[in-house]
């Protein structure tokens, strides 16, 4: 069977490229060469943002870790009589402020990244 199969598949008709093929490829190549070089990524401008993102991430992780290490802050907040004071106290104990700051930084960096991408200044 293999020899028959080999014979059939090997005998595929050879096609000759059309006469304008080379010209068409070279035109595409010339266009490629003439096109302006891609704009390099603005590392200098992006570095502070990356730094902020990293710091935000670290703070977020630290906040989450802290949350798991000291859950009693939430428990006490739940069981205690509801008052703004107790909520603020619980928030302070669980470093909610840090978490909020980290989230804010992350949102800030995303906002600026999107502005860079869209080309706005």
């Amino acid at each position: 069977m293999n020899s028959d199969f080999d014979e059939i598949v090997s005998q595929q008709d050879e096609i000759v490229p059309s006469s304008g093929f080379v010209a068409s490829v070279m035109e595409a190549v010339q266009q490629e060469t003439a096109a302006p070089a891609p704009i390099p990524f603005p590392w200098k401008r992006a570095l502070p943002i990356f730094g902020a993102m990293l710091a935000g991430l670290v703070m977020l992780v630290a906040g989450i870790v802290e949350l798991f290490r000291a859950p009693e802050a939430f428990v006490s907040a739940k069981t205690a009589a509801f008052s703004i004071g107790s909520v603020l106290s619980a928030a302070d104990k669980s470093h909610t402020g840090w978490v909020a700051l980290a989230l804010g930084l992350a949102a800030f960096s995303i906002f600026f990244s999107l502005r860079f991408i869209s080309g706005e200044k």
Binding site: M1, S3, I8, V9, S10, Q12, I15, V25, V29
Partner: protein, 187 residues
């Protein structure tokens, strides 16, 4: 001869002489268009795919390491382009089951014209699962040279051999009459 010319043209292109790329296109247009044709069975699309392969070659010319032949590098790059293109826009192929069903409905299939028979087998090859199809196409494109097919696919020879074997097995199970009758006629 061709290898020397390829090297000289590549050096010139890398030095900034874009027009020298034309020599490469002239020398390799036939093989690249024909390889594409085997993947898509459509002349117009084959030229489009070959053009894309040449463009990619132009962009990546600096990545050709001189330890492999230029043709080996070019064929591997082209095979990658063609496989990606077929993934992006799959061709209209007849499934193997449909082909087998069609054969069952034709009681006098032995009277099929030779051209029809070849066309059906080629359609069947194109209807194989991708990994077997690629191995079969490149094996026959490289005139039944397993190492060359393996280089174009970037796979070990053993893997290519296994895929070839499996591809043939699938075809044998799907087209028993078509392939079997021809073998009987030969015997």
């Amino acid at each position: 001869m061709s290898a020397t010319e390829d090297l000289a043209d590549v050096e010139r292109v890398l030095a900034g002489d874009t027009a020298s790329f034309e020599g490469i296109v002239r020398r390799w247009q036939g093989p690249l268009v024909n390889m594409a044709f085997r993947f898509c069975n459509d002349r117009g699309r084959a030229e489009e795919m070959a053009q894309e392969a040449f463009l990619r070659a132009f962009r990546g010319l600096a990545s050709w390491r001189r330890d492999a032949a230029f043709s080996t590098w070019l064929f591997a790059l082209a095979a990658n382009v063609y496989r990606s293109e077929l993934k992006r826009i799959p061709m209209q192929s007849v499934s193997l089951d449909d082909i087998a069903e069609l054969m069952d409905k034709r009681p006098h299939f032995s009277a099929l014209e030779e051209a029809d028979r070849s066309q059906i087998v080629r359609q069947a090859v194109l209807g194989l699962p991708e990994k077997y199809r690629d191995a079969v196409i490149l094996y026959y494109f490289h005139e039944m040279d397993v190492p060359a097919a393996a280089q174009s696919l970037g796979l070990p020879e053993g893997t290519v051999k296994a895929r070839l074997f499996r591809g043939r097995e699938i075809l044998r199970s799907k087209l028993p009459q078509l392939l079997g009758a021809a073998a009987l006629r030969e015997a």
